[in-house]
């Protein structure tokens, strides 16, 4: 089957009921946005997706994800002049976030050693899902827990590409854009990551 079909499918250019796209909102932010409305709207739109990505990239560390989330928007606003409106804002934002995680991981050098988080953090990672029977929920939670645990065994680069494509729903081309690597590299990293994940999940 085509690779692109396997991703969750969020919209490419995000726009809510107002019909204003991310790019237009960010241009407003760039021009000043004295009351901060455009910025608030933009942050709200990406809050869930970006925060989720950061939580999974940091191995479930919600506090680091919280700090990195703020830092991502701070960097985006600082670098607003360099933003090309022809480019997808979402991809650009993901690119900043991934770079920040890499920088932070380089500083800490412990990303892969982060233990699975304690119960309280596991509780913070409750799934936002429609109603299910308790058995279905338990099965899903167990699956999610196993997948999360195996994600931690991947290298950061593998994790990035897997999360951007399957979790964030970016196309391979968008993921390549966000990671600033050629499309072929993204494909080979994805293939390598999936092979390793299979090996980890089926010992």
């Amino acid at each position: 089957m085509p690779l692109e079909c396997t991703r969750a499918a969020p919209p490419k250019a995000m726009a809510d009921e107002s019909g204003v796209t991310d790019e237009e909102l960010f241009l407003l932010v760039r021009e000043g946005d004295p009351e901060g409305r455009a910025l608030t709207q933009l942050v709200k739109r990406h809050e869930s997706g970006l925060y989720g990505l950061l939580v999974h990239l940091t191995g479930g560390d919600v506090n680091r994800a919280d700090d990195l989330f703020q830092e991502t928007f701070l960097r985006a606003v600082r670098a607003a002049r360099t933003f090309d409106p022809q480019r997808s804002f979402r991809t650009w934002l993901m690119s900043i976030a991934v770079n920040l995680v890499r920088d932070e991981a380089r500083r800490r050098k412990v990303l892969n050693e982060v233990a699975l988080q304690s119960g309280e953090e596991r509780a913070a990672l409750q799934v936002e899902t429609p109603e299910r029977t308790p058995a279905q929920s338990a099965e899903r939670n167990d699956e999610a827990w196993r997948v999360r645990a195996s994600l931690l065994k991947l290298t950061l680069k593998e994790r990035e590409v897997v999360l951007l494509h399957f979790f964030q729903g970016l196309t391979l081309a968008e993921a390549a854009d966000a990671l600033t690597v050629p499309l072929g590299t993204v494909k080979s990293r994805l293939h390598g990551a999936l092979t390793r994940l299979k090996g980890i999940l089926e010992p």
């Binding site: 089957m1 085509p2 690779l3 692109e4 396997t6 991703r7 969750a8 901060g36 910025l39 608030t40 942050v43 709200k44 809050e47 869930s48 925060y51 989720g52 939580v55 999974h56 560390d61 919600v62 506090n63 680091r64 994800a65 919280d66 700090d67 989330f69 703020q70 830092e71 928007f73 701070l74 606003v77 600082r78 233990a115 988080q117 309280e120 953090e121 913070a124 990672l125 409750q126 799934v127 936002e128 899903r140 699956e143 999610a144 997948v147 999360r148 994600l151 897997v162 494509h165 399957f166 979790f167 072929g184 494909k187 080979s188 994805l190 293939h191 999936l194 994940l197 299979k198 999940l201």
Partner: protein
């Protein structure tokens, strides 16, 4: 290198599982804190110190550092050991009596005693689990009521 547009059914399943990963719920005030931080940065004078990130207060943040976790465990165990050592607990008692005053300490002491008595093992077990057997009427070792068993 992977095949251009193909995924094996297993890889597809794995991809779907990854897509179903939990969507962590962001803290309620994350947007507000982010906007506040970005706006504070915007109003900052060039060359001035960078504003500190408005994070959650320290006591609301879970302990994530393994070293800090171990230290917290050691502190808890040490506290328990100190409290159970008779000499130290006495010293603690004296300290509290200085702090709260003799009368209040006495009240507190009484209260703790009552709680301990209420939930203590004495109240859980039956009052007299092994009642003495009634003496046999014409047994060889029977003694008259009130008389000493010893001769």
């Amino acid at each position: 290198m992977m095949r251009e547009d193909e995924l094996t059914p297993q890889e597809r399943e794995l991809g779907e599982a990854l897509g179903r990963l939990p969507r962590p719920i962001p803290p309620a005030d994350l947007t507000a804190r982010t906007v506040a931080r970005v706006r504070a940065e915007g109003s900052r004078q060039p060359g001035s110190a960078e504003p500190k990130a408005p994070t959650r207060v320290w006591w609301q943040r879970p302990i994530t550092s393994p070293i800090a976790r171990a230290a917290a465990a050691i502190v808890l165990v040490a506290a328990l050991v100190l409290v159970t050592a008779p000499r130290t607990s006495e010293r603690i008692g004296v300290f509290f009596s200085h702090l709260l005053g003799e009368r209040n300490t006495e009240k507190l002491d009484l209260f703790v005693d009552r709680v301990l008595i209420a939930i203590g093992p004495a109240n859980i077990q039956p009052e007299n689990p092994h009642p003495p057997r009634a003496p046999r009427a014409n047994g060889p070792h029977t003694t008259a009521p009130g008389a000493s068993a010893r001769v």
